[in-house]
């Protein structure tokens, strides 16, 4: 049963991720990306990590994708305004993408994806309390550094969005 759910979710994830790339209309691409995030959240729930699943939905599907959709709706892309890409740029894109894949495969092929032993495995590790303990005890420094990074990004966004002297919006 769980195995079948896993296969279904994996199928859904891969298909919708592919559709993000292949669909002609960018709005549909964004909607497929949202579907991808949902199926990834499904995987988190299968791993008994409910907190990660909920946060994934809230942050990615609920906030970031809304902003994506927001911007794409403004672009007003349709068939008439679609730019024709030349063969050279398509060729270059294929080579660049292929090289990236080679690098990824080379980097990841020898990775030891930490195996688990049934005896030492804690099935409750994904719960909020346990995750908080791990985050604030074992990984406090990376956590704090990440928040500094967010602060810098936020300050940058505010700087970019600030009205320049003499500029008028309406």
């Amino acid at each position: 049963m769980i195995q079948n759910v896993f296969y279904f979710l994996t199928f859904l994830t891969l298909i919708s991720a592919c559709m993000v790339v292949f669909s002609r209309n960018p709005v549909y691409s964004v909607l497929f990306l949202i579907l991808t995030f949902f199926s990834i959240s499904g995987h988190y729930i299968l791993l008994n990590a409910q907190f990660l699943a909920a946060v994934n939905i809230i942050v990615y599907a609920g906030a970031i994708m809304v902003l994506f959709l927001f911007v794409i709706m403004f672009l007003n892309l349709n068939k008439e305004t679609e730019t024709q890409k030349s063969n050279i740029s398509k060729f270059a894109a294929v080579i660049a993408g292929g090289l990236l894949m080679v690098v990824m495969v080379a980097a990841l092929k020898d990775v030891d994806a930490g195996t688990y032993t049934e005896a030492g495995f804690n099935s409750q590790i994904g719960m909020v309390q346990n995750l908080g303990m791990v985050l604030f005890k074992n990984y406090l420094l990376p956590f704090e550094l990440a928040s500094v990074l967010f602060l810098v990004a936020m300050a940058g966004a505010v700087m970019l969005g600030k009205k320049e002297t003499g500029e008028r919006h309406f």
């Binding site: 709005v27 409910q50 909920a54 939905i57 809230i58 609920g62 809304v66 709706m73 909020v128």
Partner: protein, 365 residues
Amino acid sequence: MEFLLNPFSINALIILAIFGLTLFIATYCTYAERKIAAFIQDRVGPNRAGPLGLAQPLADAVKMFFKEEFIPANAHKFLFVAGPSLAMLTACMSSAVIPFGNTLIIDGVGEIRLQGIEVNIGMLYIFGVVALGVYGIMIGGWASNNKFSLLGAIRAASQNISYELAMGLSIIAILMMSGSLSLREITLQQGGSFLGISGLDWNIFYQPLGFIIFLTCAFAETNRTPFDLPECETELIGGYHTEYSAMKLGLYLFAEYVNIIVASAVMSVLYFGGFNFPGQEWLRANIASDPTLAHNLVTIIGTVVFFGKIFAFIFFFMWVRWTLPRFRYDQLMHLGWKILIPLAMINVVLTGAAILFWPQLKAMF
């Protein structure tokens, strides 16, 4: 009857009952809205269909179903239909984790929770579903291929994102106090006594500022006046639902009422003690000699009281709609980003300080 008496089928019945009740209350919200509007404007309101006009929602539904289904020629057909469906789906999903009552003890079955599902991330679930609610409006507004609809959709998106932040920050203060994301746990923690009255230990007494922020954000998230900018008819005709007709329009309007019910229920749970009511411990001790029966009776009264709280909030939503004028869009953004978010952050810091220094304060007196 025998096959019904197991935890699984009872839970299924409770889920069905919650779903049906939500939709039923939403139906009668349309009637209540018109009656309350009429009362505030010194009119009579709907009084033709049935006694006191009580069959008016039925008549409205029949009208909606039999109107012409119209899809504009250049609309994206699939998304045009998906928009209102998504709005309704996300609205109905969020009532699943709300605890409508304490437990019922039934012979041979055990304790039954009056709740759809009990998860330890209940609050995050509600927050996530609310965050998804904007997609129905955005997709419908964009798929209509109409400038006014698009403007409405874009307004909805930016409004929801802006007010979600302040809402999340006001919830954080509650979570700091309760230490749990489960709505049932948060409710049960409010069952203690306050000033000697049992069942009155509500969060509103500790988080008045947080409640005002949450309330304001709830108005913005449900697109209600004074924040109904996405459908602002003086500027945008009908906003995101300009091109919609028949039951697709009906679904959008209906989803708004379901959202109001859920927002009212969440506010009751977070700040007004959920199914706790003043004097419940006294009632539990005196209502019946059999402790199981007393527990069940108190639970049932608690559920009734909880619905009373929901109705009071729904009335408040309608009262505000027919009293306050609409905000201007820049005022809305100013309120969200420059007033509510800083206030919510101050509230978080104050709550943290209070929790830290509470033992010392207690020792001083």
